[in-house]
């Protein structure tokens, strides 16, 4: 009898303490499509640390294995949110009005090694030492319109060589790119840090530069279906808040530097490992995370102008429809303080 009274009292206290949250509003079911990579870490962290729960969101993470599929899942209505890298395909989908970019994911930031230009041993020995000299070289990329393709495009613009003079070899996947370079079938490729270091370790490739040393750009974003942005604005706002908390934790754990500018991976990083181990494929160790953890804006702010540039570049290559306008698929209202916002 006493037990029962106590329980009732506890319940009563809860109702008093959490007005309007747990009871008046049952948690909303929300789905996000994502890749099982460290670049999705803020979502994983926010989920595991209960930041979404605190915002009244019951988040279901759907894992895909290609950036394309992540965007298609949102466009087709199978997911409410998505988080992945920009590609030509992404812009074409976004241009159809099915999704809105709302916050930043990875970007190239000075001092943070993320994606490397790798020369084959042979090309390196023949004098290929700088990303300025890509003209006339053969380069393995995943696909036409991929971020690797865009990296080359930016280099071509910056160092005044013709992109046409680079022989692009689309080979569909990163393992194929590594195989093509190791086998000496291409002069160069562009790889994420862990893959690039692996090639250097094997002695088949040589890193000749990092992307952030040459071109800075916004790699990816958090986006939502246009429908949910229009119809459930408060939900999107809550979602972004939880995401930002995840981002902040991520930045504090993996992006901090000491006075010499070296990255510090310490207690905070270790504390986040269980969340990453649960979601990231293949299962990461603290050492792999140390290499692969890429820069993300701690508040989710976008390099807006760069996204406009990306769209324009893709259009110039004939890969994105001329009718696509970046301003139509970016919604700047969920995050404050975006960078380089072009004036209308």
């Amino acid at each position: 009898m006493l037990k029962r009274t106590l329980r009732l009292a506890a319940l009563f206290a809860l109702v008093l303490l959490m007005p309007g949250l747990a009871f008046a509003q049952p948690k909303e079911k929300v789905t996000i499509s994502a890749l099982p990579f460290i670049s999705t870490a803020p979502i994983f962290i926010a989920k595991e640390r209960g930041y979404f729960d605190a915002e009244g969101i019951d988040l279901d993470i759907k894992i895909f294995n290609a950036a394309q599929a992540v965007a298609v899942a949102v466009a087709s209505g199978d997911a409410d949110f998505g988080i992945t890298a920009f590609t030509g395909g992404f812009f074409n989908l976004a241009g159809k009005g099915a999704l809105k970019v709302i916050a930043a994911q990875s970007r190239e930031e000075p001092g943070y090694n993320f994606v490397a230009y790798v020369a084959s041993k042979k090309a390196y020995e023949a004098g290929f030492r700088s990303p300025k000299d890509f003209a006339g070289k053969s380069v393995a990329i995943t696909t036409v319109g991929s971020s690797f393709h865009y990296n080359l495009g930016m280099l071509a613009d910056k160092y005044n060589f013709k992109l046409d003079s680079v022989q692009m070899k689309p080979v569909q996947s990163i393992p194929n790119m590594m195989a093509a370079l190791s086998g000496g079938q291409v002069d160069a490729t562009i790889l994420p840090a862990n893959n690039a270091l692996k090639l250097e370790e094997d002695g088949t490739g040589k890193i000749i530069g990092w992307v952030h040393e040459h071109t800075l750009w916004q790699l990816g974003a958090l986006f939502a279906s246009s429908k949910i942005v229009k119809e459930k604005r408060p939900l999107v706002e809550r979602f972004v808040r939880a995401y930002q908390k995840g981002l902040a934790d991520y930045a504090a754990a993996f992006l901090a530097k000491d006075s010499q500018g070296n990255r510090m991976i310490g207690e905070k990083a270790l504390a986040l490992m269980p969340a990453l181990e649960k979601w990231v494929q293949p299962k990461p160790s603290i050492d792999t995370v140390k290499i692969a953890a890429n820069y993300m804006d701690p508040q989710g702010r976008l390099l807006v102008k760069n996204i406009y540039d990306q769209v324009a570049w893709n259009q110039a290559q004939g890969m994105v429809d001329k009718s696509v306008k970046a301003e139509d698929f970016i919604d700047l209202s969920f995050v404050k303080g975006h960078f380089d916002v072009p004036k209308k």
Binding site: N92, A140, T143, Q167, K169, Q172, G183, Q185, M319
Partner: protein
């Protein structure tokens, strides 16, 4: 004379006659495309998932104007034709040996049966290691895909050459070599040509897989890139190109059959 009922016998043997209506397939195509276009114009089909036929035509036209269309077709045809010829020659040779020599049959049949069902696309990474990412790996993919069905069809075509013709040739003292070239080869032509229909379709199917690796021109590479870029109109345009190519090949084979199999 008593009245006798006299009835004209009614015809009751109609129908069940095999035949074709030349206009029927064209009409069916037209109706399907017209319905599709109408549904798109009325926005019953979401543009995101299914572009209108007119958009597909526009995409192809744009490609034709900037000259890439011809480049894609030429690049793919080169791979298809060389892969198909290689695979067919090797397949017919092995199929003939299996049809003629008991030992070749006993050894070849289980091996072919074991290797035939391997999806050639799964072997793509292996081909990159063996042949690189240039033309050889693409041609090899198609050649291997063509090889196995050709072995099977050549083998059964040889098997179907009437034994009495071979005995006749033996009774006139023809050597084995002469029997192969004068009796078995022409006698197996119907089966081999039927096999060509299948193997040429396989070559067309495999060109997409073959061009996954290191190709920037070719219909397969074009379709893949359109898929990656979510350019659905171009994607369908590429698929239409492939099926037109298929129709063209089928028409060529029909002509070849008419000439080679005039005697049937």
């Amino acid at each position: 004379m008593p009245e006798v009922a006299k009835n004209t016998v009614a015809f009751r043997g109609g129908g069940f006659v095999p035949g074709t209506r030349r206009w029927a397939p064209w009409l069916a195509f037209l109706v399907i495309i017209a319905c599709w276009e109408t549904a798109s114009q009325l926005r019953w089909l979401p543009a995101l998932f299914m572009p209108a036929p007119s958009e597909v035509v526009q995409a192809l036209h744009a490609l034709l104007v900037d000259g890439k269309l011809v480049a894609h077709i030429v690049a793919s045809l080169k791979r298809i034709v060389s892969g198909w010829i290689l695979g067919s020659l090797a397949g017919i040779t092995l199929g003939f040996m299996m049809g003629i020599f008991v030992l070749a049959r006993s050894v070849g049949l289980p091996i072919v049966s074991a290797l035939f069902p391997i999806p050639k696309i799964a072997l793509l990474p292996l081909f990159i290691l063996w042949f690189g990412i240039g033309e050889p790996s693409k041609v090899a993919t198609i050649a291997l895909g063509v090889f196995f069905p050709t072995v099977v069809s050549a083998f059964s075509a040889v098997d179907n050459v009437p034994r009495n013709l071979i005995r006749m040739a033996q009774s006139f003292g023809l050597s084995t070599r002469m029997i192969v070239f004068k009796v078995i080869l022409p006698g197996a032509m119907p089966g081999i040509l039927a096999g060509f229909r299948i193997s040429s379709s396989i070559a067309l199917i495999l060109v997409v897989a073959a061009e996954m690796i290191g190709a920037d021109t070719g219909i397969g590479a074009f379709v893949l890139a359109a898929g990656n870029l979510m350019q659905i109109d171009q994607l369908i345009g590429g698929v239409v190109l492939l099926s037109l190519l298929g129709l063209g090949v089928s028409a060529l084979l029909s002509i070849a059959e008419k000439i080679v199999l005039r005697w049937r």
